[in-house]
Symmetry: C2
Subunit: 141 residues, 2 copies
DNA sequence: ACTATACTTGACCAATTTAGTCAGGTATGT
DNA sequence: ACATACCTGACTAAATTGGTCAAGTATAGT
């Protein structure tokens, strides 16, 4: 089970954005430089974040991105959903009654993986961008 | 974040084994048929489980595999460790002081991913094979 | 009006990982 | 002897990841 860079980068970038967008929009170039993430890759990520209305874009010189909501309203769940970083523990179709290897019934471990998925998602639903900002300033103090 | 088949199959196979090894060793062929997992793939998995002393093997006709420990002593952690299904949320080296993109310090989200990793591992440390057996017989009742 | 900045879109790709298969072995109970 | 079933290592097709590249479009400042 591993977290992909896309998910990790999305959160890194948004924390960066949240810290610097107080006055002006933040350009992806700045985030790219500060966080060491490829600019081209960031553009892909932000187009998805925009589609889910987590950020707003301002074009032109001095343009950039701004958060659409307050940091405490942006949960990790929302971010991950936007960039298609989903937790997937089972292989069987969720809706179907069929099991994972084409069996007629759900396999012996199906419930376990469901529990696991819930367990992980709970974490993502609790954590907001604000939590991360707090954590970060505490560290610097 | 997704669970690989190897990890899922390992647990499925061990639950199956735990349910049927009361009297005789269980052959991989039986597990393969019951669980719908490729025999060749199961062999790879069981060689790892054996290396970590989760199962014992008995060769020859009427041979097969047996659990080395009681179901309540086998945690998911042990199983996953054996088959190299590890939880990996950060890209940076754990021991190194350096961050994930070659930066001099840990990135703004490092602590978060660490927390996440702990959160997931806690689940794996709590759950034992026995829990799964119980769950399964309850379902059948 | 021009230009630099910065968002926008879509195609493309190399490297890695996954989820196996295949081909041979070796040990052992009957 | 022979069938069963473990054992070992090499190999591979397909998917995923983590990007790059190219060609735009919109806007602020001069
Ligand atoms: S995981 Fe859903 S049936 Fe096996
Ligand atoms: S995840 Fe460890 S430094 Fe970024």
């Amino acid at each position: 089970m591993k977290l992909t860079s896309k998910g990790r980068y999305a959160v890194m970038a948004l924390v960066d954005l949240a810290r610097f967008d107080n006055i002006n929009p933040v350009s992806l170039r700045d985030i790219s430089l500060r966080q060491g993430i490829s600019l081209d890759y960031l553009e892909q990520i932000f187009s998805k974040l925009k589609k889910d209305q987590i950020v707003k874009s301002i074009r032109g010189t001095q343009g950039g991105y701004v958060l659409s909501k307050k940091p405490n309203e942006i949960k990790l769940t929302n971010i991950f959903h936007a960039v298609d970083e989903k937790v997937k523990t089972v292989q069987c179709k969720k809706e179907s009654k069929k099991g994972c290897n084409g069996k007629a019934t759900k396999c012996v471990t199906h419930n376990l993986w469901d529990e696991l998925e819930t367990h992980i998602n709970t974490f993502f639903e609790k954590k907001s961008l604000e939590d991360l900002l707090k954590n970060n300033t505490e560290q610097r103090a």
